[in-house]
């Protein structure tokens, strides 16, 4: 009896196998269906415009197909200077954010959860105010007769008004302020996952508080720090409003140049080419940092337990 039942199972269809396979396939289709709206959205608002941008950049001023827009960028010194400024500003803004953000995130991560949440709200609060308003607020605070200069001179800290705005200073102050939360949030998140026992173990093994931080805590917080750095740097590369207002025309970033070219010269070809190059450079930064982050994971600095 048992033998015949067995052979039946093998030679004929196994019990319910077809139905179960169908269920599995239907489930997978349903899951895929859920992602269809997102895929459509990406095609409509990302793939098509970017493709169109790329297409436009391939035509010169006379509307003839050529690589003119790209070769001109390589030949002209001014374009090179603009890209250099863009990377310079992004780099310095990111560095400022790290210098201000790391100690702050560390401080928040050491607080009890309740107090840390209040600190986080303080970090997020600026997000609820318009970017433009915040940028103009800096203009008011930093200008020649602004609050900082008035108070500084009244207190006798300096005699002549400091040039805090319409130059690199203003641009960096404004951008660091806008970008800081993008560094603090991922960094704080990764610091919270670092088990306090690691630091305890280090000090039990003979590490002074500084040695424990340097050898254990800092390496474990690097993945979060890198994530924050990448986000801030990439956002800086394409930033427009703050450098435009606080740079006073002295700091020209790629995004501002694109605006000028379209606004003044109505030259979509050149503007598109600039956009494409900026996008490619941004992708390059993302690619390199992705490699770095992956490398980090291979080394085991997961940050968690």
């Amino acid at each position: 009896m048992a033998d015949s039942a067995n052979s039946m199972g093998n030679t004929l269809t196994r019990i319910n196998a077809v139905g179960l396979r169908q269920d599995e396939r239907r489930e997978r289709l349903a899951l895929f269906g859920l992602s269809v709206p997102a895929i459509l959205l990406v095609i409509v608002i990302v793939a098509i415009p970017v493709g169109w941008l790329f297409w436009l950049s391939l035509f010169n001023d006379e509307g003839v197909l050529s690589t003119y827009n790209y070769t001109r960028m390589l030949e002209s010194k001014s374009y090179f200077r603009i890209f250099r400024t863009t990377f310079n500003v992004s780099f310095m803004t990111t560095a400022l954010c790290v210098i201000i953000g790391y100690p702050f995130a560390y401080f928040l991560a050491q607080l009890p959860q309740r107090w840390a949440n209040i600190g986080l709200i303080a970090v997020l609060l600026p997000f609820w105010t318009s970017l433009l308003v915040r940028t103009y607020a800096w203009l008011v605070v930093l200008q020649r007769k602004g609050l900082v200069n008035q108070w500084g001179m009244e207190l006798g800290l300096w005699d002549a008004p400091l040039r805090l705005v319409h130059n690199m200073n203003g641009t960096l102050i404004g951008m660091a302020h806008i970008m800081l939360p993008f560094l603090v949030l991922p960094l704080y998140g990764s610091m919270r996952t670092i088990d306090q026992d690691y630091v305890k173990a280090a000090s039990n093994l003979g590490a002074s508080p500084f040695q424990a931080f340097w050898n254990i805590y800092l390496p474990l917080s690097l993945p979060g720090l890198f994530a924050g750095i990448v986000v801030v740097f990439v956002l800086c590369l394409g930033f427009f409003v703050t450098p435009a207002v606080l740079g006073g025309g002295r700091i020209i970033m790629v995004s501002m140049k694109i605006e000028t070219i379209i606004d003044l010269f109505f030259n979509f070809g050149t503007a598109s080419a600039l956009g494409v190059v900026l996008m490619l450079l941004t992708l390059l930064v993302l690619f390199i940092s992705h490699k770095l982050l992956r490398l980090d994971r291979v080394l085991g600095g997961g940050g968690g337990s």
């Binding site: 173990a201 039990n204 093994l205 085991g300």
Partner: protein
């Protein structure tokens, strides 16, 4: 720090150490002497204060007052990184961004030991915990048991004279845990450092320790050898917490102890005027008649029988309504003698194993 003891172990002297959290006493005037080179276990239920006491020894918890001496030197205000005690954490706390050798070599690096010597000592430590050749492994490539060994190697590689362990085996499965208990025991015999071990697992405590300190509500309840702790509990808390036991109230009259009117012979008891009689399931035996004068006897009715593989349990209701458990090994003739549910039986307890427990309030 000046150390008088040149041996590879230091005694620990704990005096009136107290730690409060708000109104709660985590440690309440704890006095405890750990002898040089002994394996002492702090045993207690969760929240009893045993881990707090260990953290005070390691320097991670600052007590309200008290004194802790390692050898002759006071360490109560010494920061953890200067205490020179090894510690195995409950979750091992192995640094995930370092290799096995990097972890074990870390304390040596901090002490400025040259690379060649350090490498040898790391290899030695790995050999001691039977992980020779594992130095280049990443931490996430290790199994739970291997992590446990690496944590141990890291704690002993700088040759501390005191080793602290915070429930180090609790994350392992039962078989591996029992294996590691024996291994830790052997390792302690070999290295000889003073070891303070925290666990809530009483079998682990009894298996491994030279002495067990039972802690409850921040107080030291009893400090004795495992045998003494089990056989002569000093309080009803210890009697209930260690092993299974049923406590029967007894009467004292004219120097004679009696339970429910029957005289009890208490030859085995160190406490002569305790107010409870302790019945351990494995110390009770089934008697064929009431008249066996060699034993203290208890009459009762079988309530339930549970077969547990290596042994079986009888739940018996005594005449005054108290339920007691009787454990018997599963040997053929003993199983054959198991009475039926609801039958009347007589339980015997040998006078040498008859122990009185003092009331906790006395």
């Amino acid at each position: 720090m000046p150390v008088t003891d040149q041996d590879n172990a230091l005694p620990i002297t704990i005096r009136s150490v107290t730690k409060t959290y708000g109104d709660v006493y985590a440690l309440d005037e704890v006095d405890l002497d750990v002898q040089s080179g002994e394996f002492l276990t702090l045993l207690g239920p969760s929240g009893s204060g045993k881990t707090t006491l260990l953290m005070v020894l390691a320097g991670f918890t600052r007590p309200d007052h008290g004194s802790v001496l390692f050898g002759e030197s006071e360490v109560i205000r010494m920061p953890p990184h200067k205490r020179e005690v090894g510690m195995v954490f409950q979750n091992y706390a192995l640094f995930p961004h370092m290799t096995v050798a990097g972890n074990i070599g870390f304390p040596l690096r901090l002490r400025g030991i040259d690379k060649k010597t350090a490498r040898e000592r790391v290899e030695n430590a790995l050999g001691t915990v039977q992980l020779g050749g594992y130095g280049d492994r990443r931490i996430d490539q290790l199994s739970g048991g291997q992590m446990q060994r690496v944590a141990l190697a890291r704690a002993i590689v700088f040759e501390p004279r005191i080793l602290l362990m915070d429930e180090p085996l609790s994350a392992l499965d039962k078989k591996l845990r029992e294996h590691m208990q024996i291994e830790l025991r052997h390792l302690h015999e070999k290295l000889g450092m003073t070891t303070v071990y925290v666990t809530h697992d009483q079998r682990e405590a009894l298996t491994m320790s030279d002495r067990v300190a039972v802690i409850n509500d921040g107080k030291l309840m009893q400090l004795d050898s495992p045998r003494q702790i089990y056989d002569q509990p000093a309080s009803t808390f210890v009697a209930n917490f260690i092993g299974e036991s049923t406590l029967l109230p007894v009467d004292h009259r004219n120097g004679q102890v009696s339970y429910a009117g029957n005289p009890i012979d208490i030859k085995g008891s160190e406490s002569k005027n305790g107010s409870f009689l302790m019945l351990r399931p494995e110390r009770l035996i089934l008697l064929s008649s009431n008249n066996d004068s060699a034993y203290n006897t208890f009459q009762g009715k079988v309530k339930d029988i549970v077969y547990q593989g290596e042994s079986f349990l009888l739940y018996v209701t005594l005449i005054d309504g108290t339920d007691v458990a009787v454990r018997s090994v599963s040997q053929k003739d003993l199983i054959a003698a198991v009475p039926e549910v609801n039958s009347q039986i007589v339980l015997g307890l040998h006078p040498d194993e008859t122990v009185l427990i003092p009331d906790d309030n006395e």
